[in-house]
Amino acid sequence: MRSMRTRTPFALALLVAVAALVAAGCGGGSSSDNNTGSAGSGKLAADQTITLAWGAEPPSLDPGLATDTTSSNVLLNIMDPLVKLDPKTLKPVPNLAESWDVNGANVTFHLRHDGKWTNGQPVTANDFVYSWLRTISPELGADYAYQFFGIKGASDYNSCDPKKSDCNALKAKVGISAPDKYTLKVQLVSPQPWFIQQVAHHSFLAVNRSAVEKWGEKWTQPGHIVTNGPFKLAVWKHDAEIDLAKWNGWRDAKDVKLTRVDGKIITDGTTAVQAFSAGEVDVNTTGIPPADLPRLKTEDTYQNYPALGTYYYGLNVKNVPLGERKALAFAIDRKEIIDNIAQADQVPATGFSPKGIPGFSTIDNTYLEPTADMAKAKELLAKTPNAKKHINLFVNDAPGHKEIAIAIQAAWKKLGIDVTLKQMEWAQFLEFLGPPPNKSVDAYRLGWIGDYVDDINFLELWTCKSGNNNTNYCNPKYDALIAKARATKDNGERQKVYAQAEDMLTGPNGDFPIIPIYWYTYVTQEAPSVKDSFNINLLDQFDLSKVKVVNG
């Protein structure tokens, strides 16, 4: 996930940032002429080609195996999802599925009849049955198989060991079937009102059975890959280039304006910024290093999108008592961290559920504030006799985290609490966090980016058995609330339960296993010719079939 970590080792990134500063200092931050000018009248340009900087080499273009943002965005543009999410309301809108019925735990999708694969075969419900069972199967070893665990029998099938038993009986019990060519039936373990939205995730895309069976693990290569979306995978040079070309056989090809997307894979933010200012890319999705943000923010090409993600500090509740946890939360100046360190117009987080999640307005977010309240923090700490005077704070070594940790260290120091910073490389860092966390961990930084747009995806993190709960926090009352939310079908009612759960975390009587810092944003640079039509939604997805090039 882009905003949370990059693979570039910290030292290198720092060095590059220093070098960029030097370069910027020498040149006075002039930008190229290629990208200036107004957004234009909206007249379509004759040449509908854009160049785009992808932020990473996709580890896999198999919908079952892809886990990162770049793979997801390539896939969502070359494949045809059953549903898409409305960019504004985030409600599911029909796509390949023209309609669906939800009857308690039973969901039925009705597919359009004009879906087609690039090899000429029609897209049918059987493709989805095959693909979903393949992703759930123990043999594929899909990281995202858990996305399907809400479906009856999926978890049992995934847990089967083919070496020890015959898994086909369990496979037959999975609640996915196709009563006819264009009807897809899904039986869930319980009613899940968010399931339709969840299906917009790339792991629910269909793969072409004949291509997969013919080429095996190499089916995703250009030339082998068979797709069914608005674009085709034209070129994939590993670590260098991913080009997409419009596919005229797609069912709604007449509405697609772009003829080609030439994509360069640029992992380094400074390099992407330079490629953009030299006019070599029209859209920079790699991102902008914090050192360059103040200079580039003022330009017209700078774009900023809200994200469904929360940057937070977790606290080991076995080590740090409640009063102190609250005091630590109040001592942090979120606004200052954003203005001076993170700098990408992130939003100060006064709760764990991110702004933009459906039902956000029902949450009372007024207890914590964007700025620090030192008086309150000191008062809370004074009432906590067993407060820990020395805190070990764990952060990973990707760019930016240490700087935020130092600011927080200084803030906590004002409370008389000494902080020892432990900076670690990512994989090792995760080992320390558990769960359960290593005993030496008092506080840690982490982020969470939603997979689908329902607050359950955020709030269930803090249940007792959650694999992502690194705080040792376990409150049966909280678990009961989450269980209640799961059982509440009505969106409005469920959101009220979410508001109660959020209150138990960060409200006046909250347990504060975590301290929210900010809600993420996605930062891009976009040339005026595509600026109006290129958009990124809350889940960091962009739909190239909606993009058009206009004359500047």
């Binding site: 693979r7 370069a23 580890p59 858990y146 490629a275 030299a278």
Partner: protein, 309 residues
């Protein structure tokens, strides 16, 4: 000589086995889970499926034996992270790029570095020497990432002389990265040539040549340069290996699809098979690089040949 070469080649087998064993054991010692790429926890059943798929649930000696078998049949296994690629695929598509980049950088280093060193030596303690040595010392001291960023900023963005900021496709795109990577070895050669040449210029045979009335160009070309280059050739072998294998930073800054990035990234991603495969590849390069230098050295200086037969 043949006997020497054969013996050295046979020695590479136990060396490689040791390299594999040490890398294998060291990778086991560092904590981390190759299947946990983001902060998301990996559910137990999925972790078990992945361990089974990649045979990480076998005892370590079985894994080691399987791996060694793979290496000697030239199969370096699948990547644990890049799920549709094998280590062989990665080497095949990215190693040639690093090799090409390394070769150009090395060429730049020789073509610029040696004349620079010669000028400095022949005009010792004169403005030309100071100028040449200023360039060389800057190249020696300034790290490659800074050289790279400055080159991109001035040549590709500010003055826009027709070279792109990044990539590796047209010949124009190959100029800046080759210079950036070759800058340090260039400076190294310049300093080395200056030093050895100053020493050679004071040798008795040079004085004799001058006394015989040979023209200065001939003295320098025939006697001084030839004798000064022996240490340069000796240094060139290991340096070539370092240039080919050490291009991680340049590859990242210029978005070049070389193999240096895979080496570094595979360690942080705990992509065991990629780290192992590339370590073996580098071990082979270093072993053969040293072998070639040893052979060349034998030709240049027969005394060393005598000593080892």
């Amino acid at each position: 000589m043949t006997k020497f070469v054969i013996r050295r080649l046979l020695w590479t087998i136990p060396v490689l086995l040791l390299v594999i064993l040490f890398t294998f054991l060291m990778m086991r010692q560092i904590k981390g889970n190759p299947f946990r790429k983001t902060e998301r926890a990996v559910p137990a059943s999925i972790q078990a499926n992945l361990n089974r798929k990649f045979h990480l649930d076998d005892p370590w000696y079985v894994q080691y034996a399987d791996y060694v078998k793979g290496v000697f049949t030239l199969d370096l296994g699948p990547s644990l992270v890049l799920r549709n690629q094998s280590v062989n695929d990665i080497v095949r598509s990215h190693f040639p790029v690093s090799l090409e980049l390394g070769a150009y950088a090395f060429l730049f280093a020789i073509v610029v570095g040696i004349p620079l060193g010669m000028i400095a030596a022949l005009r010792a303690n004169k403005p030309a020497d100071y100028g040449a040595m200023l360039i060389a010392n800057v190249g020696f001291a300034v790290p490659s990432f800074l050289v790279a960023t400055l080159l991109i900023y001035y040549f590709a963005v500010k003055w826009d002389v027709g070279v792109p900021t990044s990539g590796w496709d047209t010949w124009q795109s190959k100029i800046l990265p080759s210079i950036a990577l070759g800058f340090f070895p260039m400076a190294y050669f310049a300093r080395l040539v200056r030093g050895t040449m100053l020493e050679t210029l004071q040798q008795d045979y040079v004085r004799t040549a001058k006394a015989k009335g040979l023209r200065p160009q001939r003295v320098v070309g025939l006697h001084v340069l030839r004798n000064s280059l022996i240490p340069v050739v000796t240094a060139a072998g290991p340096l070539l290996g370092a240039v080919i294998t050490g291009s991680f930073i340049i590859e990242t800054i210029f978005a070049i699809p070389g193999i240096g990035r895979y080496y570094v990234n595979s360690v942080s991603a705990r992509d065991y098979s990629v780290t192992m495969g590339l370590t073996i590849l580098y071990a082979v390069i270093v072993i053969f690089g040293n072998l070639v230098v040893d052979i060349l050295y034998g030709f240049l200086d027969p005394r060393t040949r005598e000593a080892r037969t």
